[in-house]
Symmetry: C2
Subunit: 314 residues, 2 copies
């Protein structure tokens, strides 16, 4: 019988139990134990940890794990909390997550393109105020970040006829989609995009990347969608740009603190759409299948899946 | 020199002048005159009328027109106002209109599917309340009407992964999209659709078609999108169904009276999204090109484009 796998989360017990069952269905040959139910001896035996936003002190009580599989795609908090000496981390790379995130990018791009926030304000005032229609070929959508999520989003936007530009730190080729990179490319995309979509991981480099200076380089009247991580944008600078009318709207799904505190000025801001981190929900079933395949491959071949580059942060 | 074409609209003079210029650019060989600028003699000479919501008394002052080209796709008001003895009517059939309408159907389907109205209400209360995500394959979108617009919308919905069903009065085959027809098919689609989209023309048959009885046959919690004509839905019955919580939301772009009067209960209804008839705006340039091609064909061959079936109303 293989040594146990530890499931370490900060979920409430009922939610964790649902995940544990789904993982057990996908990996019937393994013994998956919830960290909170494990004896001290079982914690010493555990060979692997499957984690979702775990308490780092709990992970530290599993000294013999070979590697850690995250149930989420975003691991910047995990990397920061576990520190450089932790076991290698494998993040979830789920094509279903890329599909649902690309769908969200298209859905909220349409939200802005088809003027839904403006029509909501008109409705509030009982005002019949049709706005001019713009063909999507005349609307430039700029994507920041061209990982799995950015690539999938670029495809959907391009397929919907938007003038799509993608930006990444180092040069990337993306079929027939225009891509730019580096500092020069960043300035270009800021100046060109009518709608700017954040899909970058949070790293030392991207933290605070969209600050007052960068926001002032954006096309006047542009809108912004943040589906990545809250701290990529400097909140106070964003609010100043919206208040000044330099930017028209922000759709924010991610925040420095989640749930967003009731005191946040975002809630009541007329040019902000607040979403409760729902753009890219993890699909429990596809996620469990991917985790199962990775663990099975390791059992059979000793080969670990691609692990997170701790220095890059993703 | 050919006899003049009369442009008859209820647009303000400046808007009509823009249309007249666009039509003149597309038809430089014709003499297009605004009805309001025409002498009595010119009105007798006019061979064709190009109309947009014209005053029927004005059209009656053009006794020698061979046919009438509408600049809009919806002609039910024109047919009703001109009566059965008017010249044959040609409506605008513009692939660009089908594209932009299909885009609107997808955009507001996402609006409902991705819970945008619910998140707006949560934001108003500063409430962090994520909702479960449903895969589009588990969301049934029912399309009422499978003309050019319905067909284009069905393709976009199917392409986005929604479980798409189309309904038409008489049976139609639509590639790999499930279609139903007639009374039995109507009951089926009402019971199956999570989101019901109206794209039917307004006719004697469709007027008041979605009344209390029909709305009560809809799937509990379903939502409705009306991008067709206001009188297809009985307003008071719709409000009763929304108030009772039987239907979750209505996106209304069309109304019995437009602009929607300030006294309408729709404006302030929490489960209604009011749009100012913007789902399918006519593109002036593609419309002018289509009108030009139809008129040229008639000049050269004497062949009139397909005209409106006055009895069917479209």
């Amino acid at each position: 019988m293989p040594k146990p796998l530890a499931l370490v989360t900060r979920m409430d017990a009922a939610t964790e139990a649902v995940w544990k069952d789904t993982l057990a269905d996908a990996l019937p040959e393994e013994t998956i134990l919830s960290f909170r139910d494990m004896s001290a001896e079982q914690r010493l035996q555990a060979e692997l940890a499957i984690v979702a936003n775990p308490d780092p002190a709990h992970v530290a009580e599993l000294p013999n794990i070979n590697w850690i599989h995250s149930l989420w795609a975003g691991v910047e908090r995990l990397v920061a909390e576990l520190g450089p000496d932790a076991a290698p981390i494998v993040r979830l790379v789920d094509p279903e997550l890329a599909r649902v995130m690309a769908e969200a990018v298209l859905a909220w791009t349409y939200y802005l393109h088809r003027d839904m926030p403006a029509y909501r304000l008109s409705q509030k005032k009982a005002e019949w105020a049709p706005r001019d229609y713009r063909h999507p070929r005349d609307v430039t959508v700029g994507l920041l970040g061209l990982g799995e999520l950015g690539k999938a989003a670029a495809d959907r936007l391009k397929g919907a006829g938007f003038n799509t530009i993608g930006w990444s730190r180092s040069p990337k080729v993306l079929g027939d989609i225009e891509t730019v990179s580096g500092e020069g490319g960043f300035e270009h995309i800021l100046g060109a995009a009518d709608i700017l979509v954040c899909l970058m991981p949070l790293t030392a480099e991207t933290r605070g990347m969209l600050d007052a200076r960068r926001l002032s380089q954006m096309k006047p009247g542009a809108a912004i969608i943040n589906f990545a991580r809250g701290p990529i944008i400097v909140d106070t600078d964003l609010i100043a740009a919206l208040d000044a009318g330099r930017l028209s709207h922000a759709v924010l799904d991610v925040f420095a603190q989640e749930p967003l505190p009731a005191t946040s000025p975002f809630w009541a801001h007329p040019s902000v759409t607040v979403l409760p981190h729902i753009s890219g929900p993890t699909d429990r079933f596809t996620a469990a299948g991917i985790v199962a395949a990775n663990i099975r491959q390791w059992r059979q071949t000793g080969k670990m899946p691609k692990t997170v580059d701790i220095k890059a942060g993703y």
